[in-house]
């Protein structure tokens, strides 16, 4: 055996890691889908915004976020590495295309995976990058951040006007705790006057704005279809890689995979569709 390398990771271990990271992403997907459903709640976005505030500020969530991105990056790096390595193992291909009866999705994992990466970048551009301040979006802020404790503090005329405009337009939550749907310009004006105020991305209104445009809705529906094809194979594939194949339960895992795929993609699809159709 070749003992020259200090760390040698076998192909099976690499696959185990790909499956392990993917399992984490699969669990996250279910979580993300469930959270999205709050966008459809008829409460003006109170529940979803409260959830977003928790997700944006909780320490454990922040750790989880790093772990999640780690999983995503390692999953796609390892899977691509294995793909390139596998390509090299048949230098001369067949003249006749394969007629072996196999599932289609399993052969398309690299293509669907690459498409997902592209979709994901656009999805980040739409939402996540706003949080990182890479792109501009819509914001929300706690009303209490505008309480002036120091009477000597001067608030500019412009900031006062902007503040009153937001209040008059009814952009507060029902309990008056939050001011939402603040545009990028309004935020800049308010931030200049109240440096302490902590603005957060208003994902609820961003989602509602985006999903009122038909071509964005269509793009997202296609995105979910690709997700579906990818996880339809990925779900049972992960079980197989973990060695969990049993004469009794394999059928159950197969069915569970189909159910999971449909629940996730329908759960995701209902949000842009629902917003677009005014549900």
């Amino acid at each position: 055996m070749d003992n020259n390398k200090i760390i040698k990771i076998s192909s099976i271990t690499k696959k185990l890691l790909v499956a392990l990271f993917a399992s984490f992403l699969l669990i996250f997907l279910l979580f993300h889908m469930t959270a999205n459903l709050f966008i459809l709640a008829k409460d003006g976005g109170d529940a979803y915004s409260a959830f977003c505030h928790f997700m944006g500020t909780n320490v454990f969530v922040k750790v989880f976020e790093v772990v999640l991105f780690g999983c995503l990056i390692l999953h796609l790096c390892l899977a691509s590495y294995l793909w390139f390595q596998n390509r090299r193992n048949r230098p001369v291909g067949y003249h006749k295309p394969s007629r072996t009866k196999t599932g289609k999705g399993s052969k398309l994992m690299m293509i669907t995976g690459s498409l997902l990466l592209v979709c994901l970048i656009f999805h980040f551009y739409d939402f996540y990058f706003v949080k990182l301040n890479f792109v501009k979006g819509t914001y929300m802020v706690k009303t209490e951040d505008f309480m002036v404790s120091d009477p000597s503090m001067e608030v500019s005329e412009e900031a006062q006007q902007t503040f009153m405009q937001l209040i008059n337009e009814g952009k507060t939550s029902k309990d008056m705790q939050w001011i939402r749907e603040i545009s990028d310009e309004q935020r800049d004006v308010l931030q200049a006057a109240f440096p302490e105020a902590e603005f957060e991305p208003d994902f609820y209104h961003m989602a509602r704005q985006k999903f009122s445009v038909w071509h964005i809705v269509l793009c997202y529906l296609l995105f979910f279809a690709v997700v579906g094809i990818h996880i339809r194979h990925g779900f049972q594939s992960a079980f197989q890689t973990f060695g969990l194949n049993h004469y009794k339960y394999s059928r159950l895992i197969e069915i569970l995979g189909v159910v999971y795929t449909w629940v996730v993609i329908l759960g995701f699809a209902i949000v842009p569709l629902g917003v677009f159709l005014g549900l």
Partner: protein, 253 residues
């Protein structure tokens, strides 16, 4: 029956290969695929047309694993659970064009025409596909009790004849079904337990070194295996590998 054959011809491992087209006529539908190639070769020799087509074969009854041709996009031709020698011309239509290619994999270099070198499989077996026993008196048949169910499952895995169709069918040229079958049949028997951890480690490492791909769970191997070895054996191999990762704390030799 008449056929047009497109056969891969290649002088040796280094030479540039190409497809040559031959016509065969008057073939009986009861003729096996290899017999059809015999008839072609007889024509080629008698009419002094070309060097006969080289192809691997031995027992011609589906148990040796020597024959292996990639016929019209499927290893061992268009039928399930058979080797090339068990494929009969009645499976084709009169006047069909048949494309015959060798197994394609980095680990299986072409020797000549349709003959590939499958000694990579032997090297994997040599790495650990055995049990070490001191030779001596023949033990009693029932000295080591094995439950019938396990014996049957081990026998199903041990049916693998090492033909290489799994590698040929796999889009990654992966040998996981072969290694899975070889690891599984010993892992299910008491005789295989003592060296179980070492075995799976050595065989998988050897498999990687020899240039076989990794499994993407496409299950093309299972669909094309002439002995219908199940994908469960790949899962068993993965399981044995995980066990080895956490429990295989043997000192390296």
């Amino acid at each position: 029956m008449n056929f047009t054959l497109h056969i891969w011809r290649q002088e040796n491992a280094q030479a540039q290969g190409r497809f040559e087209t031959y016509k065969v006529s008057g073939i009986s539908p009861e003729c096996s695929f290899l017999e059809m190639l015999d008839i072609l070769n007889e024509q080629l020799i008698n009419d002094n047309i070309a060097h006969p087509v080289c192809f691997d074969n031995d027992c011609r009854e589906g148990i040796c694993g020597m024959c292996g041709l990639y016929i019209n996009g499927r290893p061992h031709g268009n039928d399930d659970g058979i080797t090339t020698c068990q494929l009969h011309m009645r499976k084709f239509n009169d006047g069909d064009e048949i494309w015959i290619e060798p197994w394609r994999a980095k680990a299986f270099p072409i020797v000549r025409d349709l003959v590939v070198d499958r000694s990579a499989f032997d090297k994997i077996i040599q790495a650990g596909g055995y049990i070490s026993v001191t030779t001596g008196g023949v033990p009693d048949a029932n000295a080591t009790p094995v439950p019938k169910r396990l014996a049957d499952m081990a026998m199903d895995a041990a049916e693998c004849i090492g033909c290489g169709a799994c590698v040929a069918a796999c889009k990654n040229a992966s040998a996981m079904l072969f290694v899975g079958a070889k690891v599984a049949h010993l892992a299910m028997l008491p005789q295989g337990q003592a060296e179980a951890h070492e075995r799976v480690k050595k065989m998988v490492c050897r498999m990687d070194e020899l240039g076989f791909g990794s499994c993407t769970n496409t299950y093309a191997c299972e669909a094309e295996c002439p002995k219908q070895i199940k994908r469960q054996n790949i899962a068993r191999l993965n399981r044995e590998w995980i066990k080895q990762l956490f429990a295989g704390n043997h000192k390296p030799e």
